[in-house]
């Protein structure tokens, strides 16, 4: 018996040592070996820049805003939100909303959180604040009221149901943020390095960027509050905007991974246009819209050959006389579909083409308007022509030699242009030009069209469209907000108006 008790004692000792500390080493075991526990502001900033610009370039650029402003057309119904104001299925109305918060906004907030008050990171913090405004203004322009002050506070404050802020409040805060952030930039402090894909951390350039964005936002308010618009436009202009192409905010894409490719080129290739499709089996039935191609053609715009091409015998031809767009609002594939114009694969759709975030062409056109309104000094027509010149000049840098517009072509075109007549006539001239010059930044073109009404577009009216045959004034919220942020969603809808494509955002006052 004694041996048995000895054995039992051993056993007891073994069992107890095994379990004496039953959670030893758990913390280490529960640490992901493939992840870091710290935000690296620079690396995450690069991601935030990419994400702000690659958000929904298919669903919103091409099939949403790009269709609304009649740059693009598709004969299919599923991607037909922009083309014919139909919504059959998919995330077309809300992909941008989801993408903005989950990627760019969350990331930029991580950077702001990580650099707030940290010695040696004041410039990074300020640049992140400016980029945050850039990210948010596109979102609120598309949807109107969105969560802003309480967005992404679940991490820091456990707020799982962010309230929606009015667009007015968001705009006021964005303008103030731009002013304060650009004011706090300090060339003597460290800044971002290569991770800043736009300016390499150059704080002067970021200051101009902030002021230019301020001008863009200020001009947005011309319908809803011209006084405020004037005040902020003047503030922006006097602080120094991107007036020269050398100040342009441009991102170069090295290509390679999808995320390192020009997101517009990548998505458009993915959706429709490729060597293998030969203009015929375009996946989403897309082409350039007839409105766009006809306008360029009629005005002998040299950019037609930079952007558009038709497939003939296995290659893309850019001759202006061959170009023809597809009418919006088709529900059947037209017989001549393969021979219609589509984006040139070697220029606009080159995966390592560059992307214009904000440039002097747009700024000059806005200056032309400000000048026409008498808000700033200088000659409106000069600004206008400078805008055109900058836009044409930028194409080679963005899209390569094939897209280049020669000095001679520019001069010829400019010679045909003038800015005259009433303010309204001048507005039409400026903003029709805006529609061409800011292409392919479809979100900005769409916002600018809603503000100014130019160019005058003829809406289509297909059976079952959701707007009664009018061009949508906004996009609709994601179903997940309806189901899991119900109260705040309902509050927003009761304030802003029904969650419809026809409801107007705050600055888009009906006139």
């Amino acid at each position: 018996m004694k041996t048995i008790y000895t054995k039992l004692t051993y056993l007891f000792v073994i069992v107890s040592t095994l379990f004496i500390s039953c959670d030893d080493g758990f913390e280490e075991e529960n640490t992901n070996p493939d992840a870091s526990n710290q935000v690296d502001p620079e690396y995450m900033f690069t991601k935030a820049i990419y994400d702000a610009l690659n958000n929904s370039t298919g669903t919103v650029y091409e099939f949403g805003a790009g269709g609304f402003v009649q740059h693009f057309a598709t004969y299919l119904e599923v991607p037909g939100l922009g083309d014919k104001y139909l919504y059959i299925s998919g995330s077309y109305p809300y992909a941008f909303f989801n993408g903005a918060y989950l990627d760019a906004i969350n990331e930029i907030d991580k950077i702001i959180y990580a650099t707030e008050g940290v010695e040696g990171f004041s410039n990074q913090n300020a640049i992140a604040q400016i980029w945050k405004v850039y990210t948010y203004h596109r979102l609120t322009d598309l949807y109107g009221m969105v969560p802003y002050t309480e967005a992404t506070t679940a991490f820091s404050e456990a707020n799982y149901s962010p309230v929606y802020d009015t667009q007015e409040a968001i705009y006021m805060d964005m303008l103030n943020t731009l002013q304060s952030a650009s004011g706090s930039l300090d060339a003597n402090q460290p800044s971002f390095g290569n991770g800043d894909l736009i300016y390499n951390g150059n704080v002067d350039q970021w200051s101009r960027f902030a002021n230019s964005l301020m001008l863009r936002l200020a001009m947005r308010l011309t319908k809803v509050n011209p006084t405020l618009a004037e005040e902020w436009a003047q503030k922006a202009i006097s602080a120094g905007i991107i007036a020269e192409p050398s100040n342009n905010a441009i991102i170069d894409y090295p290509g390679g991974q999808v995320i390192n490719s020009n997101p517009i080129a990548f998505q458009l290739r993915n959706n429709n246009y490729s060597e293998s499709n030969q203009g015929s089996s375009n996946t989403e039935g897309g082409k350039f819209a007839d409105t766009f191609i006809s306008y360029l053609k009629e005005n002998n715009d040299p950019r037609l050959s930079s952007f558009a091409a038709v497939w003939i015998n296995g290659s893309q031809k850019t001759d202006p006389e061959l170009q023809q767009g597809m009418p919006n609002g088709l529900v059947n594939r037209p017989e001549n579909f393969p021979g219609l114009s589509e984006p040139n694969l070697n220029t606009l759709l080159s995966l390592n083409s560059s992307l214009m975030v904000l440039g002097s062409a747009e700024m000059n056109l806005l200056l032309a308007e400000a000048s026409a309104r008498g808000w700033t000094s200088g000659d409106a027509q000069s600004y206008y022509l400078e805008g055109i010149r900058d836009a044409m000049n930028s194409l080679e840098g963005l899209y390569g030699n094939e897209a280049a517009v020669s000095e001679e072509e520019i001069n010829t075109y400019i010679a045909s242009q003038s800015l005259t007549g009433s303010l309204e006539e001048q507005m039409e001239t400026i903003h029709t030009q805006f529609w061409v010059s800011v292409f392919p930044d479809e979100i900005e073109v769409y916002s600018n069209w809603r503000r100014t009404g130019y160019p005058e577009l003829t809406p289509v009216n297909v059976t079952g469209n959701l707007t009664g045959g009018t061009i949508p004034r906004r996009l609709t919220y994601p179903p997940s907000e309806i189901s899991v942020n119900t109260e705040n969603y309902e509050a927003a809808v009761s304030q802003q108006g029904l969650d419809l494509f026809t409801t107007r955002v705050w600055w888009d006052v009906e006139q």
Partner: protein
């Protein structure tokens, strides 16, 4: 100790003294050389020295130290009676005499088998007086069982006398009888039979099994066997034979309809797909809700490697198969289903959804080689549920296609002219007659075939037994070029070393290969969208789906709806899975009533998967294809140590104590390889891609546990049981003063009372027991690394990129303040057997509530995240389970057994999180319907939209679109069936047996994506209205004013296309009754065939999923699930259900 568990007896018969070494070579050579019958070890002398040991122990000791085995009915022998004995090298007869001298037990020795039985009670048979010795004739014969196996040890008594004999090893008896004698044949486990001699000198008899008489022994947690009567909770055991005839490739599917409270969703994902089994409803909002599977006492991994299919994805939305798919049904001895938490308390958190305990077949000691061979072949033919309209053909706006461009644009549209047999142009530009094509499903899908072959060898020497089996499953799917092959090698060894040490080992190796598993869900790369082909297009015109350059041929307006033949012929996916399952356990008896058991098991799988979207796939970038693949290894290792102690406290009270600990380690290491655009066309290598990424991921987690149990029994009718377990989870944070905790202690108690032993019961009442138990089980967080936010570098060809770490593709907000959840079950059960066991029933009612459930809740994207874990869920299940079995007819040649089971489970989600009323679990293709957990509703409600109506019930129209406005998102159905039942019948006539199984589920709903599209494309019969004269829609507008909209017939498509916005139009009652299985088997009377020592042989006709007897769905099978996740309730273009029929052949040598 053999308690007449079937099968083993027959192997035992072939006792052999050959000291067999377990070399494989020997096994195979012996296959041909074995002449199993050798002499028996009659000469064994027994030495026993015990004092006041339970009889049970003494018998067991004799079995272990000699070649003798005891056979007896548990309830006839008082196993707990104390015995004292001191013999050295005594003959067995003398030992038995000593043991049973004062007992009313008689014993008979047949070779090495000792049969114990109650002596006939003394209410007497009238004695034949003087003539008793006056025998007149000798009668001989052979007694066999219903399988034709000779029965040793059968008593042969001349009726009315005590003149008796018994059969020998070969089932042969000899008896001298008087005139007019009637012979009574009886044996334990068999129905008594009487035969009048009537001058015959040879009387052979077949005795029918009478298994109900036997005391059932079931396997419960940790490999412990218990008498059924001692259980305090619901356990249902299914005999392995039930799975070996009409086989399902996935074992779990074979449970369908067999056990009350066990719900099986028969997925339509093809061979090698996974299963979804839930027991007593869904308990956890985020857990998988599936039971724990345990093989021979050790848990195995049943995760769906590579992830379950999603409800709405396309491309390669494939069910990769789960762990139960790796078990060979022919290896299974029994399956016990432990339904309640009590039963599973000892297995810990993962058994909170119940446990399925699989015991594999073993060889038996002292036997020659037994060979089993089981072969089955079935043809799997696709069932066509569609019932489309064939009045109007392909076209648009009332026109048929007259050129190729139209034919392609209208490839899926059926808004053409009346079908008239006149010419039209098809998508390929060829002019053909405009006639209905009604057999596209039959034409596209092929008949599948399934071959399953198993060969098993088993046997054993004095100290070692073994069983080795090889199984091969070869399946050809219904989609062209889809196949699945699985080989399983399994070796089971048992050995006794010395007097006190037992060693048991199981090694299993599986290799399965799947080719071209079919996608489900969305259209891309999913061949099952062939259902949407226009009704005047013959699917064979699409064959082979590619042009002379190997590029996909366009057949409809969007390349996202892939050409089904292109997918079948050119898409490639291949999964190769190697699985090694090994376990060793050592049991050391320190004392006769104290033993220590240590075991280690490891379930290791390596799985390589590659999917190729080939060059020429139109929807891929530049039609240049894509590459997706992963290599993963998953392992689960359990190390367990237990101490068992058993003591008779008094003559009537027995105490059993067990204590132990377990360490569970789970590791999942996966590397994903993805890329786009093959540079050199048609060369499908990861090296040949324009862009590619390689991303590693891993999950490591540990659960440590200590546990104990205590069993008390009083006499043979009162049983008490209590358990406790504490688990520590590596996935949670140790208590830090806030809410967090990483451990949980949970208890259980139960009692069982066999009241039929103590009450004065009428004769017809054979057995009655009432049982009750209360149990808790704790559970941890399934995912590691979610407590704290972390940041991951992602592949970049430019500057480095960092992002917030995603967990399983989710933007998951970290939450460190989590603690384990608790599931509490209370149940009461009543079981009874009546009329000499001809009728029996088992009823259980239970309440099972999960509190503090860790909920993976969707949160607004505006938080920057999509999901987070909250620790607040509460889910309640209440239900009743009824099982009734009976034998309405039973005579010598014919018997009819019937089993019916029913379960009703009421589920309610009581609480989610503060301020959170609903969480979204999944959405359908197109987001038309969603699965939610909503407070106050059952688990998994289907939400969707309907047409908006005003207070008067008028439809409210949107004057912009001219169509009805859509209601808010609301509940439109329940995804989980609350009521299920099964009915099985077994008819036996002589050597024939017919098994018929019906099962059904009731009360759930299904949202059908197929019908959304069928309506959109004009295939559905509901789209006939308005084709000639248009439709007039009436209601009110947004302002409440009367509103009328006339849709012209040429534009009718837009109306039906828009119907998708009102999901309630596509919700169907999912109730069904199916004729699940029919098996007609014939036992070949092998005694007439003296070939190869054949012991038994049977041939069966088998059929599964024969008919849907009741269903309310249109155009699809009510069982159309295509993912084994919690997201049930959608139908979305999965493979067609197949009807399988074929043959099964079994031999035993």
């Amino acid at each position: 100790m053999k308690k007449l568990l079937k099968h083993e007896r027959y192997f035992q018969r072939l006792t052999s003294n050959l000291k067999m070494k377990l070399s494989l070579l020997f096994l195979f050579t012996s296959l041909f050389t074995i002449q199993a019958r050798v002499s028996y070890s009659q000469g064994d002398k027994i030495s026993v020295k015990v004092e006041n040991q339970r009889l049970e122990k003494v018998l067991s000791f004799i079995e272990k130290t000699s070649d003798y085995n005891f056979v007896y009915k548990v309830n006839e022998i008082d196993l707990l009676r104390p015995v004292s004995l001191n013999v050295t090298k005594e003959k067995i007869e003398n030992v038995l005499q000593l043991i049973f001298k004062n007992d009313s037990i008689s014993y008979q020795i047949f070779d090495n088998q000792i049969i114990l039985k109650k002596k006939p009670s003394v209410k007497k048979i009238p004695r034949r007086t003087a003539k008793t010795t006056n025998y007149q004739q000798l009668v001989k014969g052979t007694i066999v069982d219903d399988q034709g196996m000779p029965l040793p040890g059968i008593n042969v008594v001349e009726k009315g006398t005590n003149n008796g004999s018994s059969t020998n090893f070969d089932g042969v008896y000899e008896i001298e009888v008087g005139e007019n004698a009637i012979l009574v044949f009886s044996g334990i486990g068999f129905k008594k039979q009487e035969i009048t001699v009537n001058g015959q000198t040879t009387i052979n008899a077949t005795l029918q099994n009478d298994t109900e008489q036997l005391e059932n022994v079931v396997v419960i947690a940790l490999g412990i066997k218990k008498e059924e009567r001692a259980l305090t909770y619901a356990v249902t055991e299914v005999d392995g034979d039930g799975f070996t005839q009409a086989k399902e490739v996935n074992l779990a599917d074979a449970l369908s309809g067999k056990i009350a409270g066990v719900s099986v969703s028969n997925l339509t994902t093809g061979a090698g797909g996974s299963s979804r089994v839930t027991i007593r409803g869904n308990t956890s909002l985020s857990g998988d809700n599936q039971p724990l599977y345990v093989i021979n006492g050790m848990p195995m991994d049943n995760t769906t490697l590579g992830g379950s299919a999603s409800t709405s994805a396309g491309g390669f939305n494939i069910d990769h198969g789960d762990g139960t798919g790796g078990i060979n049904p022919d290896d299974i001895e029994t399956i016990s289903v432990l339904k309640g938490a009590t039963a599973a308390a000892l297995y810990g958190s993962r058994a909170s959804n119940g446990a399925i305990i699989i015991t594999t077949k073993k060889g038996s000691f002292n036997s020659g080689i037994g060979i089993e061979f089981n072969s089955s072949f079935t043809v799997d033919s696709p069932m066509d549920f569609t019932d489309w309209q064939y009045e109007y053909g392909q076209g648009n706006g009332g026109q048929r296609p007259l050129n190729q461009s139209n034919a392609i644009t209208w490839g899926r549209r059926n808004w053409g002219e009346r079908i008239d047999g006149q010419p039209f142009v098809a998508f390929d530009g060829i002019e053909r007659p405009y006639v209905a094509q009604k057999n596209n499903i039959d034409h596209f899908y092929e008949n599948g075939t399934t071959f399953i072959n198993t060969i098993a060898l088993s046997g054993g020497s004095e100290k070692t037994s073994y069983r080795f089996s090889i199984s091969d499953t070869d399946t050809k799917g219904v989609v062209p070029n889809n196949s699945f092959n699985r080989r399983i090698f399994s070796l089971n060894l048992n050995s006794t070393i010395g007097e006190r040490l037992d060693i048991e080992g199981l090694v299993q190796f599986n290799r399965s290969k799947s080719y071209n598993r079919s996608s489900a869900g969305d259209a891309t790369g999913n061949p099952n969208w062939v259902n949407m082909l226009a009704n005047t297009v013959d699917v064979r015109w699409l064959d082979p789906g590619y042009d002379e350059n190997g590029y996909e041929i366009e057949w409809n307006e969007t390349p996202y709806a892939s050409n089904p033949y292109f997918v079948a012929n050119k898409f490639k996916n291949e999964g190769i899975r190697d699985r090694y399952l090994g376990q060793v356990s050592l049991n050391y008896r320190l004392l006769d009533n104290l033993s220590v058991r240590g075991s280690v098991s490891r379930d290791y799988t390596s799985f390589d998967f590659t999917a190729i979207l080939p060059t020429g796939t139109l929807y891929t970038n530049n039609a240049a294809g894509e590459y997706h693949g992963f290599d993963l290894t998953v392992s689960e290792t359990n190390s367990m140590l237990t101490v068992n102690y058993n003591e008779d406290l008094t003559e009537d009270i027995n105490l059993g104590v067990m204590a132990g600990g377990n360490i569970r380690k789970y590791q999942n290491e996966q590397t994903n390889y993805d890329g786009r655009q093959f540079i050199i066309p048609f060369f499908y290598s990861f090296t040949n891609l324009q862009t590619s990424t390689t991303i590693p991921s891993n999950q490591h987690l540990t659960t440590n546990s200590i546990f104990g149990s205590l069993d008390l029994s009083y006499k043979n009718y009162l049983y008490l049981n209590a358990t406790a377990r504490e688990d520590w989870f590596s996935t949670l944070t140790a208590s830090n003063g806030a809410d967090s905790d990483n451990s949980i202690l949970y208890p259980s108690v139960g009692a069982g009372f066999v009241f039929s032993e103590v009450i004065n019961k009428p004769d017809w009442f054979s057995y009655g027991k009432i049982r009750s138990s209360w149990a808790q089980v704790g559970g941890g967080l399934p995912d590691p690394y979610t407590l704290n936010e972390s940041y991951t570098m992602i592949p970049s060809s430019g500057e480095p990129l960092q992002q917030v770490t995603q967990v399983g593709g989710q933007r998951l907000l970290a939450n460190a303040n989590l603690r384990p959840y608790t599931s509490t079950t209370f149940e009461i059960g009543l079981e009874a057997r009546l009329f000499n066991n001809r009728l029996g029933f088992d009823v259980a009612v239970y309440d099972k509530t999960t509190t503090d459930d860790i909920v993976n809740a969707q949160i607004p994207v505006t938080t920057g995240y999509e999901y987070t874990y909250f620790n607040v869920g509460e889910v309640e299940n209440q239900g009743i389970e009824v099982a009734v079995n009976g034998t309405p007819v039973k005579n010598d040649n014919f018997s009819w057994d019937i089993n019916y089971n029913m379960a009703y489970n009421k589920n309610e989600v009581k609480q989610l999180a503060e301020g959170l009323n609903t969480i979204s679990v999944a959405n359908s293709v197109g987001n038309w319907a969603e699965i939610h957990h909503e407070v106050g509703q059952a688990f998994g409600v289907i939400k969707g939209y309907s047409m908006l109506r005003d207070d008067e019930g008028n439809i409210v129209f949107d004057s912009n679109s001219g169509f009805p406005m859509r209601s808010e998102l609301k509940k439109i159905g329940n995804s989980v069936a609350p009521l299920s039942m099964g009915l099985s019948n077994r008819f036996k006539y002589k050597n024939f047996a017919l098994d018929v199984l019906l099962d059904g589920k009731f009360g759930n709903d299904i949202f059908s994506v197929l019908n959304v599209y069928a309506t959109r494309f004009g295939l559905s019969k509901r789209t006939l209205e308005g084709r000639e004269n248009g439709l007039v829609l009436e209601g009110v507008d947004q302002n409440g004013d009367p509103y009328t909209n006339t849709i012209p017939s040429t534009d009718i498509r837009s109306y039906y296309q828009n119907l998708k916005n009102y999901s309630d139009h596509f919700i169907y009652d999912g109730s069904f009754v199916k004729l699940r299985q029919v098996v007609l088997s014939y036992n070949i009377p092998v005694e007439k065939i003296s070939l190869f020592k054949l012991q038994s042989a049977s041939l069966s006709f088998i059929a599964r999923n024969l008919f849907v007897l009741y269903s309310k769905t249109d155009n699809f099978d009510p069982e159309s699930a295509y993912t084994n996740s919690n997201a049930q309730g959608f139908e979305s273009f999965a493979l067609p259900r197949t009807r399988s029929y074929g043959l099964n052949l079994k031999f035993k040598f």
